[in-house]
Amino acid sequence: MHLKDFFAEVRAGRLTGIRCGRCGALAIPPKEFCEQCQQREWQPVPLGGAGTVVSFTVIRVAPRGRSAEVPYAVAVVRLEEGVSLLGRVVDVPFDALKAGLPVRFRPVEIGGQTMIGFGPA
């Protein structure tokens, strides 16, 4: 599995990680060797998409081409399976954002580009 396949799944609304066939470690996105046991025996594994916010920010100064999107929230989310992922937070009021807040993965498309997103659980 490569990044292209990972994002094809994201666009279809599915979050896919890889699980090490030797030690069971989970990872996103795909990589060659397992950091934990140095093996190369990955298997794709579907992830449920439910998780909780680890840390978050509200971006108010955006890179070129993204100014129309501000303000927007970005968070690191720890998924139930134990692996984390960074994405755009949508449909959650900024003042409700806090560590531990339950959220759920969803693909977010802005300007024809698909990104990892999280909405209310």
């Binding site: 840390s55 978050f56 920010t57 108010r60 100064v61 070129r64 970005v74 960074l86 580009q113 990104m115």
Partner: protein, 384 residues
């Protein structure tokens, strides 16, 4: 391995320039060569750092260009790019070229020019230093990366926005003592706290500016350095890397690469944090200084904010941090920063820092962080 010393330093004024990156580096390099008192022809190699020249100036292959503009068109050159740690990485490799016996005198440094493009373009180019698959599409910016770190540090330790503001106030105060600093004006705690949010909880005055500037160092082997009275020895230089993905960091309230780079540098130098008298560290954002003072072993985890609030890191305090004004007030031309930090520590250890001199400083440390905390360099320096 042979001992290595810094025998010459040169830094341009930091701020806005109408000269190119290669010109800025060449100017700093000429000053470093004159400071060393060597013939330009003594330089055997150039290790050069620049990050965004391809985007801001449509100029790649900048290392031989810099050598050409310096008047040394036949010196072997290499260009380095490791985000904001670029010229500290170049420095470590230059040290290794001399330590290994390949060369006796090496010129190293870097330059950056970004004030010739709009802020949103500079923000975009800097964001290229984060991952392009997940992080850039999500709209993560560099203030955003450090905002995630700040939030985690606040949640875990109770660090406050006011404590972060104290870092900005202190570094701006130090900047008033540095004629090369981009900002040489004091700011109040209130000014910082009332400034607009850039990426919550970081506000405008928690962020370092975009800056043009160049910095250069002349390094020499022990045999050569012995002839130079103002030499400062490189006691240790260590590099550490961490995962590029912010979501893979094990604990967002720490920068583990800083901790590993520091441990390696202390071990090489045979020093401990208690031996260090003066520090130039990577305060790209106020929270970055707080986390770095903890990771470098100066303060217990969670107490870096208190150290800033109590003035322990001010000139005249327990351990002066960023007497130059730091990235926050001196400015942050990302390709030049690592070399500029080393130039400041060399100046301090020589006792030539004027009104910002840390009295009697004999051991100094520099810390440079690249990108989303993936690259960190720590080096230690000492007098004879």
């Amino acid at each position: 391995m042979r001992r290595v010393a810094v025998i010459g330093v040169g830094v341009t004024k930091f701020g806005k320039h109408d000269r190119t990156s290669a010109e800025l580096f060449a100017q700093a390099a000429a000053e470093a060569i004159l400071d060393a008192g060597i013939a330009p022809s003594a330089i055997q190699a150039l290790y050069f750092g620049n990050v965004t020249g391809g985007e801001t100036e449509r100029q790649l292959h900048m290392a031989p260009l810099a050598a050409t503009l310096l008047g040394l068109p036949t010196v072997p050159t290499t260009r380095f790019e490791n985000a904001c740690a670029t010229s500290h990485v170049a420095f470590r490799h230059a040290v290794m070229e001399i330590a290994s016996g390949v060369s006796d005198v090496v010129l190293v440094g870097g330059a950056e020019r970004v004030l010739n493009v709009p802020t949103e373009s500079a923000t975009e180019f800097f964001a290229y230093c984060s991952d392009a698959s997940i992080e850039q599409p999500a709209g993560l910016t560099f203030p955003g990366v450090f905002a995630l770190i700040a939030r985690a540090h606040m949640d875990k330790y109770g660090t406050t926005e006011e404590q972060m503001a104290h870092v900005a106030v202190k570094n701006h105060r130090h900047g008033t003592l540095n004629p090369k600093a981009q900002f040489q004006k004091e700011i109040s705690l209130e000014t910082v706290l009332k400034s607009a949010y850039v990426a919550d909880p970081l506000k405008l005055y928690d962020c370092c500016p975009f800056t043009d500037g160049g910095a250069a160092l002349v390094l020499a082997s022990e045999d050569v350095a012995r002839k130079h009275r103002r030499r400062i020895w490189v006691l240790g230089s260590h590099a550490a890397t961490d995962t590029m993905f912010v979501h893979e960091k094990r604990d967002l309230s720490r920068v583990t690469a800083t901790e590993r780079a520091a441990q390696g540098a202390y071990r090489q130098a045979g020093k401990t944090p208690a031996d260090v008298n003066v520090v130039e560290l990577h305060d790209c954002f106020t929270i970055a200084e707080i986390v770095a003072t903890e990771g470098l072993g100066f303060f217990e985890p969670g107490t870096g904010g208190l150290a800033a609030e109590k003035g322990w890191t001010s000139l005249g305090g327990r351990l002066p941090v960023n007497p130059s004004g730091g990235l926050k007030a001196k400015g942050h031309p990302i390709g030049a920063t690592g070399a500029a930090q080393i130039a400041e520590i060399v100046t301090q250890l020589r006792g030539e820092a004027g009104p910002r001199q840390v009295d009697g400083a004999s051991t100094g440390l520099t810390h440079t962080l690249g990108g989303n905390t993936a690259t960190v360099l720590v080096s230690l320096f000492g007098r004879d």
